[in-house]
């Protein structure tokens, strides 16, 4: 069920007349776009630490946001009191960006002709709280039996259910229900004098049953132990320029930061991106084809419709190195005179929509990962990253590896610690010299931040080789 439709609307006596009146109030002859977004979100989180399932929490947040856009101006207000008169006042505030305006009556029609990419039921109520607690205990026991060097284990199981409603001055409204499950394991291993951490996680838009009761949580636990173990033997990293091979899957976060953000419509409309005015130009090595696809079933970054009610799509951003298009929301698409791409996203009703990524990945190539490693005489193989950041204007990006190795004469050797990659997005993409055939999406752990708003995203890529990139480390 959609809680907005089945609970908030009747509870607050909001019918189609009231909704039309609200959207109309925020509209008018000088307003290009207005929308009303209503959301009811429940989030829960359970944590096992020190062998005790000691933390449990549930959070309910509901409210509305109303926006009016006139050319490049936006007025926005939000609240959590669903009283009709209050929402009308908020609509008037949002519309106050324009000085003169003639009334416009908006007639709304439901739009539901989009593919549902996930179930609508809430994961939270799909199993009992006791089952969640028992599950965490089971994983905790498994890890402690598996490795005696374990010093600390923190396991978290969380999920959310988001019921949304969006109606806009284009005359349509729609509902969407979005489940999201996340499981995470962190272990700290101690051996002699060293301590190192390893973590692994996964999730997606599905119910708990998709991971609980399968082998996946135990595989992720093994993975966390493996990473910590690898890091226990790591040696300091030598600073300087070198060849770097990126592993498949999660290292796609580099693509997300180095290229993805620079291809968001707002930055390109304002020409503050390094990729501004580059459509049709060679921006990457011809081995690179980059896609943003919000339509993959059950993925963390997927949405049936974006937060403006536009169905998501599979958008080609870069094809064989040529820049094809940007990611757009309604406002930026209109201002740039292109079609919206289904990338209008917002953290919540209390935030404005803007162009954001969904699942961003690079297509596989024709090499194999073995061939790529074999081809490197002296370099680094980076398999996992803990985080990164980009300056979209200069294109400068930074990444920190959580698992990386030296490559010596075509062989992966010692693991290295404290490795940071730094480079310039477009420069680095031009230096991609080999791409393997092993494209993989990440396990469903990504959260992207932009202008203070966080949204879940997916990343992916095949194994690939970058010639000559700057690596930071403590050794000279």
């Amino acid at each position: 069920m959609n809680i907005v439709k089945d609970y908030i609307f009747p509870e607050n006596k909001l019918g189609s007349d009231q909704i039309e009146a609200i959207v109309s109030e925020a509209s008018g002859s000088s307003i290009d776009l207005s929308d009303l977004y209503i959301q009811y979100t429940t989030v829960e989180s359970w944590t096992c630490e020190d062998g005790i399932v000691k933390n449990g929490s549930q959070q309910i947040d509901s409210g509305y946001g109303i926006r009016a856009v006139s050319n490049e101006k936006t007025g926005f207000s939000y609240g959590n009191n669903f009283d009709f008169e209050k929402i009308i006042e908020a609509a008037k505030l949002s519309k106050s960006i324009v000085k003169s305006n003639e009334d416009k009556k908006i007639n709304l029609k439901e739009y539901n002709d989009f593919k549902k990419l996930y179930i609508s039921e809430s994961p939270i109520t799909s199993i009992s709280d006791k089952e969640k607690v028992d599950f965490l205990r089971e994983v905790d026991n498994y890890i402690k039996k598996k490795d005696k060097r374990v010093q600390q284990v923190i396991i978290n199981l969380s999920s959310s259910h988001d019921s949304i409603f969006v109606a806009n001055s284009l005359g349509k409204y729609c509902f969407d229900d979005r489940p999201l499950v996340r499981f995470n394991v962190m272990v700290i291993l101690k051996s002699n004098d060293r301590v190192e951490r390893g973590s692994a996680g996964g999730g997606g838009r599905y119910s708990y049953s998709t991971i609980l009761g399968t082998n996946k949580p135990f595989e992720l636990a093994d993975e966390a132990i493996r990473i910590a173990n690898v890091n226990l033997d790591s040696i300091p990293c030598k600073a300087g320029n070198t060849t770097v091979v990126l592993g498949s899957g999660w290292p796609g976060v580099l693509l997300h930061e180095a290229v993805g953000h620079g291809l968001e419509g707002d930055f390109n409309r304002k020409k503050t991106s390094n990729f501004s005015d580059q459509i049709g130009k060679q921006v990457a090595s011809e081995l690179c084809t980059v896609i943003d696809d919000g339509t993959i079933d059950n993925r963390r970054g997927s949405l049936s419709v974006d937060d403006e009610g536009t169905p998501t799509a599979k958008n080609i951003l870069i094809e064989n190195g040529i820049l094809k298009g940007y990611m757009q929301d309604l406002m930026n698409a209109k201002l740039m005179n292109v079609e919206p791409t289904g990338n209008g996203r917002r953290e919540s009703y209390a935030h404005l929509p803007m162009p954001r990524m969904t699942n961003t990945y690079m297509l596989g190539g024709s090499s194999t990962s073995d061939e790529i490693i074999d081809s490197v005489k002296d370099g680094i193989y980076a398999v996992n990253f803990s985080g990164g950041q980009v300056d979209i204007t200069s294109g400068q990006f930074v990444f920190t590896a959580s698992e990386a190795y030296k490559i010596e004469s075509g062989k992966v050797t010692n693991s290295i610690k404290g490795m940071t990659l730094i480079g310039n997005g477009p420069d680095v993409l031009k230096k991609v010299s080999m791409v393997a055939d092993d494209m993989k999406l990440d396990d469903g752990v990504g959260t992207c931040g932009k202008e203070g708003q966080s949204v879940p995203v997916g990343v992916g890529q095949p194994t690939l080789k970058i010639d000559d990139i700057t690596v930071g480390g403590t050794e000279v």
């Binding site: 000691k54 449990g56 106050s96 006791k130 400068q396």
Partner: protein, 438 residues
């Protein structure tokens, strides 16, 4: 909001007084309202009106802790939130260290600590202010070719805590931020930089003109950045970046990271962490202080304390739970307030002069500070220093070390104190770090 903060406080107080005496309860209520205005190229771009409130209920039932929160303050919703916290607690497993604080509790509503300075502006005044700020950047130099605009952000927030052991406390505060982000362009290269000022009292924020000009000056100075070779050398961190380094230190001595053994500073109480000349203290009540608070997030009365004395670690930052885990007492540090970093050496306003060859770091990127091992490796932007003077901007390099070494290697602290953070410190000079360039 239909009901004012004082009325809600009293209503919640009555509710908590009537709950089951065999369980412990904590209510945390926050409300905030405000306005954000952004102007770009001389015209309003964005206006946002904020209005948030939320209630978090913690229930501890036989050493089991459940938390539930809502933003619907109707009687019915509060009841179901309390029930949910009880239900969650009932499914958890007992943890001997759970429990709400019962000592040194706050017992006063509407505490005035000189951090609440509400001021009303009309929308036109705000638009004019942001337009003026951006204009002073655009007019500064013709290399300023693009802008992300100037933003004014105002927030007035109210904070209430109640617990069933008698904690009752509330206070209100305001925050004003004026910022400007511009892009300098030259020879096809673009560089972006910003300047901002955050204060409790609007009258104390830097003027629109100063902020605009500073953002332009910073963006222009980045143009023409060169690469730098891999080397070990002294680095100076700007006050803003020093704040980041000291906040990593404060995370590393947070009791929750200590008992979880997730810190490179475990078992270090009483040991020398910094060089002799460094002193770090926490001062909870500072007039107009960005960190000022009369009680911590659990309702324990805050007090002034020394954290580092002559380089030695005096205390961890403990909340009730981590204190019990470590068999210590809460230091009223569920969070921290105003932190002061000082050197007993003379504090100069120009650390660059003393450097023969080194780098001034003005920006760091990426999350390369590892709390567990202390390993530090981040991307950076800065300026090469030669013979006591800035030579040219440098980019595309990393700086790396271990935080333990960095702390011991802080040779000097400047008196160019940073006013936009609750951590108050100046530039720091670290005598030896690894630069990873080409």
């Amino acid at each position: 909001m239909s009901e004012n903060f004082e009325d809600i406080s009293l209503r919640l107080k009555n509710i908590i007084d009537c709950l089951d005496k065999n369980k412990e309860y904590e209510f945390h209520f926050n409300s905030a309202s405000g306005t954000d205005v952004t102007s770009r190229f001389g015209d309003l771009e964005n206006i946002q009106y904020h209005n948030d409130e939320s209630l978090t209920v913690t229930c501890i039932d036989g050493k089991k802790k459940g938390i539930a929160s809502t933003n619907n303050l109707s009687g019915e919703s509060i009841d179901s939130t309390i029930k949910k916290s009880e239900t969650i607690a009932s499914f958890l497993e007992p943890d001997d260290y759970q429990g709400l604080p019962c000592e040194n509790l706050i017992n006063k509503l509407n505490i005035d600590c000189d951090i609440n300075f509400p001021k009303q502006f009309t929308t036109d005044e705000l638009i004019n202010m942001t337009v003026e700020c951006e204009k002073s950047a655009l007019d500064y130099d013709n290399k300023i070719k693009n802008s992300e605009g100037s933003e004014y952000a105002y927030s007035q927030s109210n904070n209430l805590i109640l617990n069933s052991h008698g904690a009752v406390g509330s206070y209100s505060s305001t925050s004003y931020t004026l910022s400007c982000v511009v892009i300098a362009e030259d020879n096809g290269l673009k560089e972006r930089d910003y300047a901002y000022s955050t204060r409790r009292n609007f009258e104390k924020t830097d003027s629109a003109k100063i902020i605009g000009e500073l953002s332009a000056e910073k963006a222009i100075s980045r143009l023409g950045a060169k690469s730098i070779s891999t080397q070990k050398c002294p680095v100076i961190l700007t006050p803003e970046l020093s704040v980041g380094l000291f906040s990593s230190f404060l995370s590393a001595i947070n009791g929750n990271n200590i008992y979880k053994k997730n810190s490179f500073l475990i078992d270090r109480l009483g040991e020398k962490i910094f060089s002799n000349h460094i002193n770090i203290s926490e001062i909870p009540i500072v007039e107009e202080g960005l960190g000022t608070r009369p009680f911590d997030a659990e309702g324990v009365k805050t007090y002034s304390k020394q954290i580092i004395s002559d380089g030695v670690l005096d205390t961890y930052l403990l909340d009730t739970y981590s204190a019990k885990q470590l068999n210590l007492k809460s230091t009223a540090n569920s969070g921290y307030s105003n932190i002061q970093i000082r050197s007993s050496k003379p504090m100069s306003d120009n650390l660059i002069e003393s450097i023969d060859s080194g780098v001034l770091i003005t920006e760091m990127m990426g999350s390369g500070a590892n709390l567990l091992t202390g390993d530090y490796s981040r991307g950076a932007f800065g300026y090469l220093i030669e013979k006591g003077k800035i030579s040219h901007p440098v980019t595309n390099f990393t700086i790396a070390s271990n935080m333990l070494d960095m702390f011991k290697n802080i040779d000097e602290i400047g008196c160019d104190f940073y006013g936009n953070s609750k951590i108050n410190c100046g530039s720091v000079l670290i005598k030896d770090m690894t630069i990873g360039g080409n």
